[in-house]
């Protein structure tokens, strides 16, 4: 947006904008990134970028990668993300239950919430198995693009679903394979009350997910146990998983306001998040 379109912005110094642009490049880079690379991407003089990087480094927003001249995100953005996740009451409430599920199964247990047309993972507990699913806190995915996302999407009503696909078509361009998987997960949810999905590392075993609803039946999130939990083609989840869900839903129903998302009042169509890079299995 240029200053002409937004005259209010003229009071803001341009160096602040350069600093945020540089910060976003460091955040989005898949590898640590150097000053000249950033300068090229932003089309700015190297000296301007150097000064921006010094400001960011002194404020702990970026950090040198292994004392080199290349940068990665520093402590502050991570802490701010943690502070944001802490605002979801469900995080605190689910922590002990997730730990139990993870200990019992040896796999990764997590809770994600709905954030507009995305899901956001707010709590996770890792099990003890050597090979595990490194589902990360803070991960944001469009509502068709991960197991917790598909659980939430499948639990939305038909009109919300249509709105989602319109939004997705515009911004995410889902492939036909993704649509197919989303469709079959929604069917499994309608039929069995849980979503059972094959996992990348095993052809015989599957992961499970189930929606978390408030007292009015609205879906606010998803509980997921990621790993070889049940046989492929199973139609029900382990009893401990179902009882953890029941206990979370009872807490939510008892105090719906406390568990509401801090962003629940926003129109989902207004929430746009530039997706951070996510480590892939291969």
């Amino acid at each position: 947006m240029s200053d002409a379109e937004n005259p209010g912005r003229a009071v803001v110094n341009t160096s602040a904008l350069h600093v945020f642009d540089a910060l976003r490049i460091v955040a989005a880079a898949s590898e640590p990134v150097g000053a000249s690379d950033i300068a090229r991407q932003l089309g700015l003089p190297a000296s301007t970028v150097y000064r921006a990087l010094i400001t960011l480094e002194e404020s702990e927003y970026i950090d040198r990668f292994q004392s080199s001249a290349r940068y990665e995100l520093g402590a502050m953005p991570r802490l701010l993300n943690r502070a944001l996740l802490r605002r979801f009451t469900l995080q605190r409430e689910s922590a002990p239950l997730l730990r139990l599920l993870a200990e019992e199964s040896g796999e990764t247990a997590s809770v994600s919430v709905r954030l507009g047309w995305y899901s956001l993972r707010i709590a996770v507990a890792y099990g003890s198995h050597d090979f595990y699913h490194r589902d990360r806190l803070g991960e944001v995915t469009p509502l068709h693009a991960s197991l917790p996302s598909r659980v939430i999407l499948g639990a939305l009503g038909d009109s919300a679903l249509m709105q989602y696909w319109a939004f997705a078509e515009k911004y995410f361009k889902p492939t036909s394979a993704e649509r197919k998987l989303t469709h079959s997960s929604a069917q499994s949810l309608r039929r069995d009350g849980v979503v059972i999905e094959a996992i990348a590392a095993s052809s015989e075993k599957a992961a499970v997910g189930a929606p978390l609803r408030n007292g009015n039946g609205e879906v606010i999130g998803a509980l997921v146990l990621h790993g070889p939990i049940v046989k492929s083609g199973a139609t029900s989840a382990p009893a401990s998983f179902l009882s953890a869900r029941k206990s979370l839903e009872a807490s939510i129903a008892a105090a719906p306001q406390r568990f509401a998302s801090p962003f629940a009042h926003l129109n989902p169509n207004d929430i746009r998040i530039a997706l951070p890079p996510s480590p892939s299995f291969d």
Partner: protein, 263 residues
């Protein structure tokens, strides 16, 4: 050119202030108003207002119904899931350095391993006569200031069973045995004060201040401690104490966002 560089420097100072306003959101509170930030950060209301406006335009803050500012969801764009999460040692490292710079004395970081304290990091002073920390060495919980801070965070029943398991509670410096009543007195003091002050030895008397550092679930990550000879180090002096406590509180605000690693 020179004048535009000077302007640039001014602008970068202004930008650093904007980042400082955003960093305030790491603390306990969910939202802030202009006057609170103005008092907390010692910036003029005008500066705070401009910073908040910029951060809201960037989407990193959102103005709520009460007219106060809270974190916006676009903060989620400032994360890189491929980067490893920091552990307790990484979270504490910048604060260990600052404690050392403030006091000039040795600083240590300890965690619990069953009935023992294990020191996982240290900054040792270059002055003559230093509090020595052996990284990786195990010491029974009752035998160091850091260990007693760990004990004071446990329920009374757990302390009792520790005493039962470890009695007689041997000490090496000075050689002897710690009486349960003495351990309890130290634990009560620590609970009351919020930290432990320990003195031991003679010629010189060594003093240590040990602070419990909490995790996201009300438990303990570990203990940060600073110590040196009494003649040059007084952790309760009016010159040191306020900054010392402020540093520890800043570290706590950060570690409270993380769960303790299970040993």
């Amino acid at each position: 050119m020179a004048s535009s560089e000077a302007t640039d420097r001014e602008h970068n100072k202004a930008t650093a202030r904007i980042l400082r306003v955003l960093s305030t959101y790491v603390s306990e509170a969910d939202d802030f108003g202009v006057s609170e930030l103005n008092q907390r950060l010692g910036m003029t209301k005008n500066m705070v207002h401009r910073a908040l406006t910029t951060l809201a335009e960037q989407g990193y803050l959102i103005r709520n119904k009460a007219g106060r500012y809270e974190l916006g969801y676009r903060i989620l764009e400032l994360q890189n899931l491929a980067q490893a999460e920091p552990d307790f040692r990484a979270l504490a490292a910048p604060f260990m350095r600052q404690l050392y710079e403030l006091t000039g004395e040795s600083v240590s970081l300890a965690v619990r391993a069953d009935d023992f304290t294990v020191f996982i990091d240290a900054v040792e002073t270059r002055k003559l006569g230093a509090w020595r920390t052996q990284i990786g060495a195990l010491r029974p919980l009752h035998a160091s200031a850091s260990g007693r801070v760990i004990l004071s965070s446990l329920p009374d029943a757990d302390v009792d069973s520790y005493i039962e398991r470890r009695s007689p509670m041997r000490l090496t410096r000075p050689t002897g045995v710690m009486k349960p009543a003495d351990l309890w007195r130290s634990i009560q003091n620590t609970r009351q004060r919020g930290y432990e002050i320990a003195r031991r030895g003679a010629n010189p008397v060594m003093v240590a201040a040990a602070f419990p550092i909490g995790d996201s679930e009300g438990g303990l990550h570990g203990v940060i401690a600073v110590g040196g000879p009494e003649e040059r180090f007084d952790p309760e002096s009016p010159r040191l104490a306020p900054t010392l406590h402020a540093l520890v509180d800043d570290l706590r605000a950060r570690t409270k966002l993380y769960a303790a690693e299970s040993a």
